[in-house]
Subunit: 525 residues, 2 copies
């Protein structure tokens, strides 16, 4: 047994003295041992001081060294073995195959960023050579590359205890960028956090990195998380969670003497547009596929299909038939935490009692800690009249908006808040209608997908897991995929700096073998 209730402050493993947190067995609600001590203000101070001290030496490492570090973390996570999966299953209520897949994804993310470091494109190296003879004024030698922002605070997410938690996407991309990371563990999975935290700490030690490169703190209240965002040494924040939580952190970050960027992935209902041709061709099958996506992982995905938009007719009737049949067979599923289950019951309860909403179908009965899937419907008119119908209900709940025609569909789309994804189900005959909507959809969401659902976010170079506010705090970014590293970088220009003092990315002879822009032209000089 290697779960000791410890947090990691640089090279130390120490139990916090500020209250006690317990993991909860998601399926039974019973306490898991041991208890985890919450961080004190002194712990926070020490973690921040160590991160600040680590920043310069850590970011000065060659990209290859940081790549090897990320790979070492992945290897160490693998090496935890069965204990990690079992503890994570208990704390999250998620089934083994999902968590084995999530572990693979977590390691894959770390390795993806190792590749990003070796590629070097993230540095955006640019050189405008001096033009000493230019008239009326000579041009100096100008060179640009990206540098890391500084220590980053990462908040673990409840719904991805591995892939968006201690060594998840935010941590991997910040470490890749050259930023030390302080993680505030999510209190829903402290044991999982400790196991992964120890894997990261070991990689720091084995690779001989400065100890402050990584720390992991527990928070028995909100003081430590909020203090982390307010600390002047922290220069950016990664967060996945509720809109209330994300906007609270945005406010703290904006009120600092030096405001910092907050990358909060907050809430999204991920509209699904069913075009008439697709409904006609395979309405019932789409309905079944929809329920499979809706109920995956008890519906606890940021990209869960929470809103269906379609024009009434036989095709939609078939869709509803397929969905209703499928959802009736959907077993109530253990939710991540008692609190999330409570919020889900409140959210679906509100919809059940909503005058403008009818219940179309539901899964097998829920009960303590288990969420009952629910499928509701309303008219476009009602949807447009009730803004609260856009509120995310985190879990396997979705709302069908029945439209009379394409104009109503367009009105519903125009009324929507920013989203992570929008899914289109269509056949060739629907292409013209879809093409007309595409410019609106590009403004609405970070990812547009066809004949599928947003759940299952591929970790890749062309992925965007982000979108206009309020789906995220900053729609110019993605938290999944290789582009996520850009969140933690800023450009610096060097003018007439002697060659010996230039960063390797910008030196003559291109020692890193990068693609660089010379006078604006991309090449591998």
């Amino acid at each position: 047994m290697t779960i000791l209730g410890q947090q990691f402050i640089g090279a130390e493993a120490v139990k916090g003295a500020n209250g006690e947190i317990f993991g909860i067995d998601a399926a039974s609600g019973s306490k898991l041992t041991p208890g985890f001590g919450g961080a004190t203000k002194a712990d926070l101070e020490r973690a921040c001081a160590l991160a600040e001290a680590a920043f310069e030496p850590y970011r000065a490492l060659p990209p290859e060294e940081r790549a090897l570090f990320l790979e070492a973390i992945a290897d160490n996570i693998q090496a935890i073995g069965e204990e990690l999966i079992e503890r994570c299953m208990a704390e999250s209520g998620l089934p083994r195959p999902r968590l084995e897949g999530e572990r693979a994804r977590t390691m894959g993310q770390l390795r993806l960023f190792a590749g990003v470091l070796r590629d070097g494109g993230f540095l955006d190296a640019r050189i405008d050579p001096a033009l000493p003879e230019r008239k009326p004024l000579p041009r100096p030698d100008l060179r640009l590359n990206n540098v890391p922002l500084g220590p980053v605070a990462v908040f673990g997410a409840s719904n991805f205890p591995l892939a968006f938690s201690v060594a998840g996407g935010d941590t991997a991309s910040a470490l890749a960028a050259g930023c030390p990371v302080i993680v505030k563990a999510h209190s829903a999975h402290p044991g999982t956090s400790e196991l992964v935290g120890r894997a990261v700490q070991k990689a720091v030690k084995d690779r001989g990195l400065p100890e402050g490169t990584f720390s992991l703190l527990y928070d028995s209240g909100r003081e430590i998380g909020q203090g982390l965002v307010a600390d002047p040494r922290i220069r950016a924040v990664g967060f996945t969670g509720s809109r209330a939580g994300g906007t609270a952190l945005m406010k703290i970050a904006a009120a600092r003497p030096m405001p910092i960027p907050v990358y909060a992935e907050m809430s999204s209902i991920n509209p699904v547009l069913l075009f008439p041709g697709a409904l006609k061709a395979r309405g019932e099958a789409i309905g079944k596929g929809f329920i499979a996506s809706l109920t995956l992982g008890a519906g606890q995905f940021c990209t869960n299909p929470g809103l269906i938009i379609a024009i009434e007719g036989e095709g939609l009737d078939a869709f509803v038939r397929g969905a209703t049949e499928a959802i009736a067979a959907a077993p109530a599923a253990v939710m991540l935490t008692p609190g999330i289950h409570r919020a889900y019951c409140e959210g679906t309860g509100k919809l059940r009692g909503h005058a403008a909403v009818e219940l179309v179908g539901q899964g097998t009965e829920g009960g303590e800690l288990r969420g009952q899937a629910a499928f509701f419907a309303t008219s476009a008119e009602n949807f447009l009249a009730h803004h609260d119908l856009q509120d995310e209900v985190f879990g396997a709940s979705s709302l069908l908006v029945r439209c009379r025609d394409a104009d109503e569909v367009a009105k519903v789309i125009a009324a929507l808040e920013g989203q992570l994804t929008v899914a289109l189900h269509m056949e060739a005959e629907d292409h013209a209608a879809a093409a007309k909507l595409l410019p609106k959809l590009e403004r609405l969401a970070g990812r547009i997908l066809v004949n599928g659902f947003g759940t299952g976010v591929e970790v890749a170079h062309a992925m965007v897991h982000g979108g206009p506010y309020p789906s995220t705090s900053d729609g110019r970014s993605t938290s999944v995929g290789s582009l996520a590293i850009q969140r933690f970088l800023r450009p610096v220009c060097y003018q007439d700096l002697p060659g010996a003092l230039l960063p390797p990315a910008l030196q003559d002879g291109n020692p890193l073998g990068l693609w660089r822009r010379i006078d604006g032209k991309l090449g591998q000089d």
Copy 2:
């Protein structure tokens, strides 16, 4: 005479009915005719509605069309001819050669962004092809490119009536990105603004673009500017001006139901570090060069050298001698506006009366509307004890911080706020000391330059005119150079979108001939 006191709301040229603004002859303080009507709320509403209506058709244009539009603006500015220079000289008090140079720079910026559009790298096109056979799950086809944010509000800057005003860098980069622009003219140069505004309006018409692509409003108070930032159709803001002005806009933008990015370039004192070797070799010459940079354009540059940091000794004495001699010969210079002159007199007056500060040298006496150059000094100890000594005094005022040793230099640097530039004067023997400081300087500023001064910002691909807060509101960006276009873009991912519906940048066969990342690898497929 083509100055009619008109603003431009889409295709209309109309005098505003909300109060009257007059250009002021900077040298004499007398009113220039005609008067300019301030925009009403109805004008603002109409400009925003037109910008929103223009957004979709404008951004859908092929990059080549937008490039031709930017070039047409440049041509039209050239075609205004002498009237533009004369009016701008009167309104700004800046001399002819400076404004002829600034006009060339303005046209150069527009043409640079035409080149950026033709290159297409700003789209960051990425394709991860489908892997239908992958186990355990197939990979969908994923494609990513950048899309424009939406209509952008640009605030003209007082100190660059051409290059950072109506058709300046913010406007050029936003239009290049595909964003319609509404400019709030700076009230210091309404006539210059009208002339340039008409040139842009004509280009919109001649190129057959949607009229809302560009509007220009005057504001007789603050209501229109603030209303612009608060309007839900505006999706980003470009601003160059004071810290008070910039932070006020940041607050409005953050308090919107949908917060938006504000790119405010605000205040910077641009530290100059004089290393011992350089002081020994050419202290006096550096002193003379410093005063030439300090007094250029009456010191009214964002990158004006407002702070000198050096170790005491003979070399520094020589520098001070050179600077003192040079500043004594510096003529008092007309400042941009009576208000800027007043603020300069207040700022230098405060330093003259500051117990911790001594006056080292000054230019010929100022007087009404003319600023007298001033060079002050203090000790490192005093500098560290008085945070107000970091306040920017906009104009030809600078402060020398005398340090006893390298440790004190490091302490002074550590105490500095974020800056646009930091300049290093050094010889080969100083390289080791400079190398030690470089990591701190990279955190401090957006541009590090050697043996020169920050004034004279090259418009290029490797330029960064930006820096950590409070020099700008968002240190992840630059407002000068080709990278400035990134401020107005966000990534969108298309998953399994039928080829016919894909944007051209992502279509098979690469019709735009772009460099694209295929499976993460850069190439010109």
